[in-house]
């Protein structure tokens, strides 16, 4: 069984490890920040570039490159925002850091802020993390007292304050421009790109970097071990560790940190997570948060990787990194692996997700606003016993009319589950139209 390699979560679950600053300092905390503020920001940036780290939020965009796009010529203040909105269903990794090791995030953020010369930094945390926000605010005050943030940090002449900003229950605030609008006190309608690329026209129309919690924590470790050394963890183009969140029908759901590409889906599910429940067989896996396209248990995945090597995988063989799930037509997204066994009614599972996306669509642009709600109404009707012939094709067609035509990636996030569920489980959908189902008592879809 592959061994976990805990970098980000090294101390989080260690007995006796507490989230206060004294404990953090005892474990070598803020040493890297002390080192960083004596370095040239460009040198730190080079280390981040060399590390090859890709964003842990969902899109997997190279972090160093993102920072490179910052508009430094405008002379406007630069802002750093930590995206702690963690709201992709199936994902619960950032929460572990925030609740158990908040100073690691603060240190990573202050190093990053120093590197990009941010004037001010924000942590946008989802509203449901009541305690998380309090923990962070306490940690910030502790760090401020020791001059790890605030004015003239550690005598470096660099000043940067850090503010925790709470959301209030909106998935769309995980989209970086939606988050920025929310932070500005407006409705979180994602902005059109072009022209509103955050690195140029971000919060307050100033250059802004938005990074995920896990990404920012990694910056600390990159600087600790050096970019080149960090790049040796994992596999080429998929460097570092990732925290995978496994949920659904497995014996030991949870979060597990592994070097990218060094563990397969099979090892993760069957060894690390203790396998399926007795007597059950696998039906499907969503590999990267609910927006990722579903993988069917008996699919074969064949093709060529970027480096030219051919692959022929079963679902169990897929290496857990950025590129492999993508090569299988899905994505590693935010690292949320959702497992569904043979007891799962696949139409109800989709109906559940459709309800999520219909609830979370911000309503700004037409295809998403109208299309996602329409898909919800269709699958809900199916689950309530009024399935009609052609529903599967209709769902697919609606999803196709949304994908690629919306302001932000929410369109894809909502369309991909529908497209993949319907295409891969067409029989399940067609069976619904032949065999009416009794309405559920909750009036909505009801799983298990």
């Amino acid at each position: 069984m592959p061994e976990e390699k805990r970098i980000i979560l090294k101390y989080a679950d260690e007995p006796g490890y507490t989230r206060d600053i004294d404990c953090y300092l005892k474990h070598g905390g803020y040493e890297i920040l002390k080192k960083a503020v004596k370095m040239e920001p460009d040198t730190i940036h080079k280390e981040v570039m060399d590390s090859g780290i890709r964003g842990r939020g969902g899109a997997g965009f190279p972090t160093g490159l993102k920072w490179k796009f910052l508009d430094r010529k405008s002379g406007k203040p630069i802002y750093l925002i930590c995206n702690a909105d963690e709201s992709e269903p199936g994902t619960f990794k950032d929460k572990q850091v925030i609740y158990k090791d908040p100073h690691q995030l603060i240190e990573g953020m202050m190093i990053s802020a120093f590197c990009i010369k941010a004037k001010q930094a924000f942590i946008y945390i989802r509203g449901e993390f009541f305690e998380g926000a309090k923990i962070l605010e306490e940690a910030i005050e502790e760090a401020r007292a020791k001059n790890f943030l605030g004015d003239n940090i550690l005598g470096s002449g660099y000043s940067c304050d850090l503010v925790v900003h709470r959301g209030a229950g909106a998935y769309i605030c995980g989209e970086e421009t939606g988050l920025i609008e929310s932070l500005e006190g407006k409705r979180p309608y994602p902005r059109i790109k072009p022209p509103y690329f955050p690195a140029v026209l971000g919060v307050y129309q100033c250059p802004t970097i938005v990074n995920n919690v896990e990404t920012l924590c990694n910056v600390k470790h990159i600087l600790d071990m050096g970019g080149a050394e960090y790049a040796k963890i994992g596999v080429p183009n998929n460097t570092g560790t990732r925290i995978w969140c496994v949920s659904g029908h497995v014996q030991k759901p949870g979060y597990y940190e592994f070097p990218c590409g060094k563990i397969t889906m099979g090892e993760m599910i069957n060894d690390v997570c203790g396998g399926l429940f007795p007597g059950r067989t696998l039906k499907a896996i969503i590999p990267g948060g609910s927006s990722a396209k579903v993988l069917r248990a008996d699919e074969r995945f064949q093709g060529k990787l970027k480096d030219g090597t051919e692959f022929d995988w079963s679902i169990w063989d897929i290496p857990l990194d950025f590129d492999s799930p993508m090569a299988c037509g899905s994505m590693s997204g935010s690292g949320g692996i959702m497992v569904m066994d043979d007891t799962t009614d696949i139409v109800q599972a989709l109906s559940n997700l459709n309800a999520f996306y219909a609830h979370e669509s911000c309503g700004q642009c037409t295809p998403c606003r109208e299309g996602v709600q329409w898909m919800r109404k269709v699958t809900k009707r199916m689950c309530n016993g009024d399935s009609r012939e052609g529903d599967a094709d209709l769902l697919l067609s609606i999803a196709n009319q949304i994908e690629g035509r919306t302001v932000c990636a929410f369109g894809e996030a909502a369309a991909w589950p529908v497209q993949s569920f319907v295409k891969k489980f067409k029989d399940d959908f067609e069976a619904y139209s032949k065999k009416p189902v009794v309405s559920s008592e909750c009036g909505d879809n009801q799983l298990v």
């Binding site: 669509s361 309503g363 700004q364 269709v378 196709n400 009319q401 035509r405």
Partner: protein
């Protein structure tokens, strides 16, 4: 200026056809130049771009260049290779660059438009038969042009508030709203009154006002104009008339010296509404609510409809003749008006000169709003100056004339479109003079008049005004005037023709011929040749006058002075 031919253009390709367009404009405007329509709801040329309707999706590509060398990448046949974006892009936020290719017609784009149309209609009520927007509804138009023609939607439609009063003049039907946010942006960006907004979210998003503050500012009806569907309707116009029955006439708003370009919508001699007409040098696409009310003067109860000499009714010819005789035999003065058109003022000047009489003007000032309502509440002060009838700005009141009357220096008055008792003369003054009145509404002056010449409103005649920027703009007759009445310009022509040694020009065009011949500022112009958007005249001769207007949408005297200063110094 664009008319000197020096503005740079770039070559782009719309559906494969080369077209020259100004650099940096967006693809919707560029395609328009190429004669292609890119349908859109949320985009409005005078508002910020938000890209939410997704109707303007199109394909876009740029000439490919080698990343290393910068050389063009060529196809096998030697033509330039185009790097097409993998996803469709929105035209409203795509600004054109040299060599850009735009596809407005392709299978993919057809599918995009069909998809967006279908989505927009799933929650839209099928109430076109009772909807005021029918006939000028982009949802209807695009459904016909770009929709599939049938719906696959079998679920329940969302229910939202209907017949909501947003303010005294605007009614909202939320079920019809396509959430394009034009009205909200108008409030934020133009009217500077942020009263409209969306509440709730997703497909339940609803346009509304915060309870309490209403959409009651003087620009509220612009939201009705720019609403692409029947969500925002004019409370005044609701259920009154089908728009396809209405005739549109280009006109000019007389509310102030801004000279807002308008369309007058009429049917069978009755005006039903006024809307703004786009003019980027004057009013963009906006106008005041108050300016839209002005047509009610046409059918006012106080309207003057018949000629009168003393207490006997008369016809136009005899009344004009009597007026001329009266003026010629007395010690005459004229009270003209900056409400009069350029050509009317020109003939009034001729009358004044023939009589050796002075033409007095009274100013009508009120507070400006910085946008499209200026301090000078008459449309043609600059026109009066240019025609030479006066060399100074209208006076605060007629006290100078009052003194002359009291001193017996004036015993005959021709008053045109001014109620003298509102301007510093008393009824005692009026009793002391022989009074000839030309006007449209009954008032103290008309009642005191010895000879009454009923005139026409701006909606019933042709003519031109010169606005605060010295822009000459013409208006057209939308509806016929009351039976037997003549356009003011013909009436004044007849009065002039009855004066010794003077000739009646006999028509608007003939009056213009004389105007163009005699006054350098109008040289080379004719009524027919004034472009629909007007033409700029030289007003530099009057730069020393203290005009009352402060900054408005397209008028900034302070900035102009600053600009002029270094030029003068050099």
């Amino acid at each position: 200026m664009s008319n000197n031919g020096t503005q740079e253009t770039i070559e782009i390709f719309v559906d494969g056809v080369s077209v020259q367009v100004p650099p940096g404009i967006n693809a919707i405007e560029a395609a328009k130049i190429a004669g292609k329509e890119i349908p859109h709801y949320c985009y409005h040329p005078k508002l910020s771009v938000v890209g939410n309707c997704r109707m303007c999706l199109m394909e876009c590509g740029n000439p490919m260049r080698d990343r290393e060398t910068g050389d063009p990448v060529l196809e096998e046949d030697g033509s330039q290779k185009i790097g097409w974006f993998p996803k469709p892009v929105i035209g409203c936020s795509t600004n054109v660059g040299p060599g850009m290719h735009i596809k407005t017609e392709s299978e993919k784009i057809e599918d995009c438009r069909e998809g967006v149309m279908e989505f927009l209609l799933v929650n839209h009520p099928l109430d076109c038969p009772i909807c005021d927007q029918a006939g000028e509804c982009t949802l209807q138009e695009y459904a016909m042009d770009y929709g599939r023609g049938y719906s696959r939607y079998e679920e329940r439609k969302n229910v939202k508030p209907k017949r909501t009063r947003l303010g005294p003049r605007v009614t909202l039907d939320d079920e019809r709203c396509v959430l394009c946010s034009r009205c909200i942006r108008f409030g934020q960006e133009i009217a500077d009154k942020d009263v409209l907004g969306f509440i709730e979210r997703g497909s339940f998003s609803t346009l509304t006002c915060y309870p309490g503050p209403e959409l009651d500012h003087n620009y509220s009806l612009n939201t009705v104009d720019i609403c692409p569907v029947g969500a925002l309707t004019s409370t005044d116009f609701r259920f009154k008339m089908r728009v396809w029955f209405l005739k549109e006439t280009a006109s000019i708003c007389t509310e102030s010296s801004i000279g807002t370009n308008t369309l007058v919508w009429s049917r069978e001699g009755k005006v039903h509404r006024i809307t703004p007409r786009r003019n980027d040098d004057v009013n963009d696409t906006w106008m005041t609510d108050s300016g839209r009310q002005l047509f009610h003067q046409v059918e006012a109860d106080t309207r003057l409809k018949s000629f009168r000499i003393e207490s006997a009714s008369a016809d136009a010819t005899s009344a004009a003749k009597a007026a001329a005789n009266q003026l010629f035999t007395g010690k005459a003065a004229i009270v003209a008006s900056t409400h009069q058109s350029v050509e009317e003022l020109f003939l009034t000047r001729k009358i004044a000169e023939a009589l050796g009489a002075k033409a007095h003007f009274v100013r009508h000032l009120s507070e400006g709003d910085g946008l499209l309502l200026s301090e000078d509440r008459t449309p043609n002060t600059r026109g009066a100056l240019l025609t030479g009838i006066t060399g100074e700005l209208p006076a605060e009141n007629l006290s100078a004339l009052a003194k002359q009357i009291d001193a017996g220096e004036v015993d005959t008055l021709l008053a045109i479109h001014e109620d003298l008792t509102e301007s510093g003369l008393t009824s005692a003054h009026l009793d002391k003079v022989k009074l000839i009145y030309l006007g449209t509404q009954e008032n103290a002056t008309s009642q005191a008049a010895n000879i009454l010449l009923p005139g026409l409103t701006v909606f019933e005649k042709n003519g031109s005004f010169v606005n605060l920027n010295f822009r000459l703009q013409k208006f057209h007759q939308a509806v016929p005037g009351p039976a037997g009445l003549l356009p003011d310009v013909l009436l004044l022509g007849q009065v002039l023709g009855n004066l010794p040694g003077q000739a009646n020009p006999g028509s608007l065009n003939a009056a213009w011929e004389a105007l163009a011949n005699e006054i350098p500022a109008f040289e080379g112009l004719a009524y027919a040749s004034i472009p629909p958007v007007g033409t700029q005249l030289d007003g530099s001769a009057f730069s020393k006058l203290a005009f009352p207007e402060t900054k408005s949408l397209k008028f900034n005297p302070a900035a102009e002075k600053e600009e002029a200063a270094p030029a003068n110094a050099g």
